[in-house]
Amino acid sequence: MSEPRKSGKDLKEAVLRILGEIAPDADLSRLKPDENLREALDIDSMDFLRFASKIEQELGVPVPESDYRKLGTLAACVRYLEAASKIPSSTPAPFGRFVA
């Protein structure tokens, strides 16, 4: 049985929670939807790798390296994850299902 799809609000909260783990000192309440995440949160390449890894582990969405640029802002992350959730669960990689 497939998991229910997450709403945009749920996805935004999930992304913010993961960002909070990557950048615990950042004030995420001030993060604007279209702000560059790396700039706003001082995220380096190792942080971003952890971010992509947590998205895969916690939300069940594999992120190919070629898609990193699609995760540049909070709004873009939510769009990317929404698109991934619309792919049927039987569809193989690159997108998986939400399990969180």
Partner: protein, 326 residues
């Protein structure tokens, strides 16, 4: 009998505060096993035993400030044969004893530790600097291809290539993997690359990737990730903070074009990488856009000369332009 002592994490560390013991008298210890947690100006560290045997006596109570080199415990050495198995539960949980140092206080202490080390370096070490611009196209293309088929957990970042390139090049330039001691250069027997890691909200540590020249890129990346995780969770080991023989600092994708770094005593060289920038570059007589990075070596002029330093950077460049060989 062997003394288990308060470790030194640098020439400027005077003391540490024992936070807690992970062993009690009568417990077996292996060489390299973590047996205590200590708070220092560089954060909380885990301290390993350099002897195998049985804990005979604990000499210091948790919460006690102890000078570097002072004995903390006595270990009865038994050659590793007759010791009892280690208990599953810590004797005195370190977390229960941890002083309530707030983040501001920790940041202040770390800043003072960095200040002391850098003052020492600039006062004692005559730095010279040489730079080399490196074409990173082959490295970045190789990296994209390598990572494309891998899950996130197994992917490399370009910083791993920089670390490996420096480590391999040092094999041919041992005078850069050395220390100035008692009026002469002393070569380190192994290449332990310190990877500079920025901490949040501020601070810096450079724990060692031991024998970095002998690790595959995958091993190096795994160990690098482990160091970053432990640095951020304040669980680095004492040996990781004291064993680096050379340091690499990379300013990352959003940093400046070049990094003129300060040598970390007692080392005699540090390599700084700026951010990768796409710029015009001449290839086979044609101007093309290429991703370029500036590598800058700061060397101790008592130990090495700029000519050899420059040749070393050319060697790093050659390696990064042939990433399959890393």
């Amino acid at each position: 009998m062997a003394e288990f002592k308060m470790p030194s994490l640098g020439a400027d560390m005077a003391e540490g505060v024992l936070l807690g013991w992970l062993k009690k008298p009568g417990d077996a210890v292996r060489k390299g096993e973590i047996i205590a947690e200590v708070e220092t100006d560089k954060g909380v560290i885990q301290v390993e035993s350099f002897a195998a045997g049985t804990i005979d006596r604990l000499l210091v109570e948790p919460g006690t400030a102890t000078p570097v080199g002072a004995p903390l415990a006595i270990i009865r050495e038994d050659g590793g044969g007759g010791a009892k198995p280690a208990p599953a539960k810590p004797a005195v949980p370190p977390s229960a004893r941890r002083p309530a140092a707030d983040q501001g206080e920790k940041s202040d202490r770390m800043r003072r530790a960095i200040a002391a080390s850098m003052e020492h370096s600039k006062r004692e070490i005559p730095h010279y600097y040489v730079s080399e611009t490196i074409d990173m196209k082959a490295a970045m293309d190789w990296l994209s291809e390598h990572n494309a088929a891998l899950p996130v957990a197994e992917r490399l970042i370009y910083g791993a290539l920089l670390l490996k390139g420096v480590a391999l090049a040092l094999r041919d330039y041992p005078e850069l993997n050395a220390s100035w001691k008692d009026g002469r250069a002393v070569l380190f027997p192994s290449i332990h690359v310190g990877a500079a890691i920025a901490l949040r909200p501020s601070g810096l540590v450079a724990p060692a990737l031991k024998n970095a020249d002998k690790q595959s890129l995958s091993e190096l990346m795994l160990n690098f990730k482990g160091l970053v995780e432990r640095a951020k969770s304040e669980s680095l080991r004492a040996s990781e903070l004291s064993d680096a023989t050379v340091t690499v600092t990379s300013l990352g994708e959003r940093g400046a074009e070049s990094a003129f770094a300060v040598i970390v005593p007692p080392q005699s060289a540090i390599v700084g990488f700026g951010r990768i920038i796409e710029k015009p570059w001449v290839v086979d007589g044609h101007v093309v856009a290429r991703p370029l990075v500036t590598a800058t070596l700061a060397g101790d002029h008592r130990v090495s000369d700029a000519h050899r330093g420059g040749l070393f950077l050319r060697a790093v460049s050659r390696l990064l332009r042939n990433p399959a060989a890393l």
